[in-house]
């Protein structure tokens, strides 16, 4: 592999590993993936010597191949690449942390042990005999506090000694005689097949423990494997216990011996402050209300207030016309804009009135017209009479120039347009850049501020320790639907945006649970779906209060139903992984670590907006702006565009759902860029408006012509549940790390959306007396199919008892 010198950083989850990694490497970090898996691989350069790279291994409790994280870590440690292992252990939780240490000491590499959280240890009055640890393990043991930055210089010096080959190899634990005899025999058996490899003793022990992954790695012949299995089985009958347990128990005995000179009493058999907080936070009655309150606060701050303001600025300012620096001049400008808009409407109303009365507007002195002002949701606010004098005055009102009101910063589209005009770029390129690329990327990046705020709070909840408690509290409820408590966080985040929601599924250890979560979490109504809900509620349901909540029920219902349906298929077979999670003590996180985690997630989102999403955006832009006209491809109105033609061609597919007209189909397709585009597209197609208000009330009347309440709700259901926007599909692709699974996910989502909408529409039509016989029959067949999938006995259930016995 590379000639670079590598230090592998290994430790338990919650041992302060990322804080130490950040402290050792500073800003010189890069994030990638471990080969073949979605586990994040972070590397960084040592501050003190940039020729050394530090590789941050996933947080693990053990090197046994029980999870992807453990396999990744072990693969790397035996690859021959690392020169030194830096093992961070939590001093306030030493006994459990040293379990991994005993395994690391068997790899045949120099190990440097950093005992972290020494400040906490001192404060609680515990004492750790570091010298005994060092002499027993025969490797350097250094006290540090990663949080306070204490002891890091000495640690770096020792690491560099290790890199130069000046450290002794650790002395591995000698097991009891019966085990050592079997280990020696295994060594003899594999000797002919394996050249001397790094981590030899560690590999012998892994074989002894029956580690399937290690057997594969060594590629031993079948006869050797069965000979090894026989050795172990013989030992197990002789001592009446199993090999795995024996090793585990002896490791812990060794740890007792290592800690013979230490006094570790804090938190053992007595309640700590953290335990008292947990008694309240995970209390049977209080847990859910507390959780709801915390989430309401997080959601409120990221979507409604801080994040919302910031997102508005990004959409209307940075990716709109522009904005006032620090907001100065905004108020005066807004007033003028309002005045100008009123004047425009007055002119229009007066001229219409004059035309109706067959008069010239300029001379119609006695005429009075009326302007009706509406608020954002289409409710009449005010009526203003427009006389002839008003009309003449209105003609003179000029559009205000924002630059005259304060320090005006033009938005990106304005700047790009100026640049394009200055460069005399041809028309189509101008449109491509401005309407395709800038508008498309802007639509995605516009969500970044909101996400930054959301990510910030999530990182905070994670770092302080509350996130682990939420998973514990929610596990009970989710388990009945085949999901585990760890799936809950992604779904919660998805109510803001599915992209970070899907990314949050990364922490789920079991691959089955992770896939299930990634495939179902986009059902949650995200903030971009809210305008669509508002449009349908306003246009067809008279703003009924129940429409929005029903959308959330539909989303949550789809997730729970999918959990039950999918776990009966072989790929998702079995119950959710049993819940076991270490609860770290509550602590105040370091602001730097929280910010770093927030920025890493945001950056990973932005990178995606720059690639696959961009291409998709440009495609949809092209097909909505261009069409076949007069024997050539040229710019056309949206209703003659390629997409409109395509929409008409496939609209029959949606006829059984009650909305087989091309406008609805085109709106659904443009919704794939971002769901709120549905509203904008309807604005263009039903009203000729280039822009409509969020709830689109201007076009309500026209929509009632095309939709009935039934078909509108069916349209809403389909758009809520069908394949998500391109950004979310990109995120699914990344987390699934497989094109096949990505296709499965979006096909399942779209299939479920189609079935649910069809059942809803056709049965609704039947009950209201407008149904057709074929429609009703199809709906009943689909409903029966869905119920069968839901209620059928689990075909994989039979396999479980056998698996449990093994």
């Amino acid at each position: 592999m590379s000639k670079e010198i590598s230090i592998a950083l290994a430790g338990n989850p919650n041992s302060g590993k990322s804080t130490l990694f950040n402290a050792l490497t500073g800003a010189r970090q890069s994030v990638g993936n471990w080969p073949g898996v979605t586990v994040e691989k972070k590397t960084g350069r040592l501050k003190a010597d940039t020729s050394c790279q530090v590789v941050d291994l996933p947080g693990i409790y053990s090197l046994a191949a029980g999870s992807v994280d453990e396999i990744v870590a072990r693969d790397y440690l035996v690859s021959g690449e690392p020169a030194v292992i830096l093992n961070i252990v939590d001093g306030s939780n030493l006994e459990r942390n040293l379990y991994l240490t005993t395994q690391l000491c068997e790899l045949g590499l120099p190990v440097v042990i950093a005992v972290n959280m020494m400040d906490v240890v001192k404060r609680t009055g515990d004492e750790i005999d570091l010298e005994r640890l060092a002499s027993e393990l025969s490797c350097p043991v250094l006290p540090i506090s990663a949080l306070l930055g204490e002891g890091l210089d000495a640690l770096t010096t020792t690491l560099l000694q290790g890199v130069r080959g000046e450290l002794p190899l650790p002395r591995p634990r000698v097991f009891s005689a019966p085990i050592e005899e079997v280990l020696a025999e295994i060594e003899n058996l594999i000797r002919p097949h394996v050249r001397s490899v790094p981590g030899e003793r560690s590999r012998l022990i892994a074989l002894f423990e029956g580690d399937e992954h290690e057997k594969e790695r060594l590629n031993l012949p079948g006869s050797t494997l069965s000979a090894i299995e026989k050795l172990i089985a013989d030992l197990e009958t002789r001592i009446d216990d199993d090999a795995v347990s024996l090793i585990g128990q002896e490791r812990y005995q060794a740890i007792q011996n290592l800690l013979a000179g230490s006094r570790l009493e804090h938190g053992r058999g007595q309640m700590t402050l953290s335990d008292r907080i947990d008694q309240v936070v995970t209390n049977r009655i209080l847990a859910l209300p507390i959780f709801a309150a915390v989430m309401f606060l997080v959601y409120y701050l990221s979507v409604s207030t801080v994040g919302g303001w910031w997102t508005d600025w990004a959409n209307d300012g940075l990716f709109g016309d522009g904005f006032f620096f620090l907001g100065r001049g905004r108020e005066a400008y807004d007033e003028q804009v309002e005045e100008f808009e009123l004047a425009e409407m007055s002119v229009e109303a007066f001229e219409e009135e004059a035309a109706a009365a067959d008069l010239e507007a300029e001379t119609a002195t006695g005429l009075v017209a009326e302007v009706i002002l509406y608020n954002d949701s289409g409710v009449e606010k005010e009526r203003v009479a427009v006389s002839h004098d008003d009309y003449l005055a209105a003609l003179d009102v000029e559009e205000p120039d924002p630059a005259a009101f304060g320090p005006w910063v033009p938005g990106v589209p304005v700047l790009v347009e100026q640049a394009l005009e200055a460069g005399h770029v041809s028309g189509w390129l101008h449109d491509l850049v401005l309407d395709g690329i800038v508008a498309g990327v802007g639509a995605v990046l516009g969500f970044v501020p909101q996400m930054l705020v959301l990510f910030f709070f999530l990182a905070l909840l994670e770092a302080c320790g509350y996130m682990a408690r939420i998973a514990f509290v929610m596990d009970r409820i989710f388990r009945s639907f085949g999901l585990s408590g760890t799936s809950f966080i992604p779904m919660l985040v998805s109510t803001g945006c599915a992209v970070p929601g899907i990314m949050a599924a990364r922490t789920i250890e079991s691959e089955r649970d992770r896939r299930l979560t990634v495939a179902t979490t986009p059902f949650m109504p995200c903030s971009a779906k809210l305008p669509v809900i508002a449009l349908i509620a306003g246009a067809l349901f008279d703003d009924a209060w129940w429409v929005a909540p029903s959308a959330y029920f539909a989303g949550i219902g789809a997730i729970l139903v999918s959990g039950i349906i999918l776990k009966k298929f072989r790929a998702f077979a079995g119950d959710a992984a049993p819940f076991v999670l270490e609860l770290p003590s509550y602590r105040l996180p370091r602001p730097g670590d929280v910010l770093r985690s927030m920025l890493e997630r945001a950056w990973s989102f932005i990178k995606r907006a720059g690639s696959i999403i961009l291409l998709a955006q440009v495609f949809v832009w092209f097909t909505t702006s261009y069409g076949w006209a007069d024997g050539a491809v040229r710019a056309v109105e949206q209703d003659q565009s390629f997409l409109a033609v395509l929409g008409s061609a496939v609209s029959w597919i949606f006829a059984p759902l009650g909305w087989g007209h091309w406008q609805a189909v085109v709106a659904t397709i443009t919704g794939l860029i971002a769901k709120e585009n549905v509203v904008g597209t309807f604005g263009t197609l039903y009203g000729g408006f280039s822009e409509v208000s969020e709830a689109g009330w201007e076009i309500w009347a026209n929509m009632r012509v095309h939709f009935t309440t039934l078909s509108a709700y069916s349209f809403l259901l389909f758009n809520l549940l069908c394949l998500p926007c391109f950004a979310a599909i990109g995120a699914i692709r990344r987390e699934m790390n497989s094109a096949r699974w990505t296709l499965f996910a979006i096909a399942y989502q779209t299939g479920l959306a189609y079935a649910v909408s069809l059942i809803f529409y056709q049965l609704g039509a039947m009950f209201s007396g407008t149904g057709s016989i074929p429609g009703t029959v199809t709906a009943l067949v689909l409903l029966a199919g869905l119920l069968y999938l839901l209620l059928r006995p689990n075909p994989n259930r039979r396999l479980l008892p056998a698996a449990a016995r093994s």
Partner: protein, 76 residues
């Protein structure tokens, strides 16, 4: 002797044995659930537990907790 999922908040005891299949059993043992270890139940939600074992706080679902058998009231 009783399975851990039946224990109440505040209960203390010694682990008698850890049952169940290979991987899950190994996971529990790695986290410190080995024979003879004292456990202290800090919180119980109908069998889902938070326990103190070897000084760390572990949240366990019911279906794992019932694999751990303890001798209630005994101390090391």
């Amino acid at each position: 002797m009783m399975p851990l999922n039946l224990a109440q908040a505040g209960d203390r005891g010694l682990i008698d044995r850890v049952g169940g299949s290979g991987d899950l059993r190994r996971r529990l043992e790695e986290l410190g659930f080995t024979s003879g270890q004292p456990v202290h139940v800090l919180s119980s939600r109908q069998g889902d537990l938070i326990v103190d074992v070897r000084g760390s706080r572990i949240a366990l679902g019911r279906d794992l907790a019932r694999r751990v058998h303890i001798r209630l009231g005994e101390t090391a």
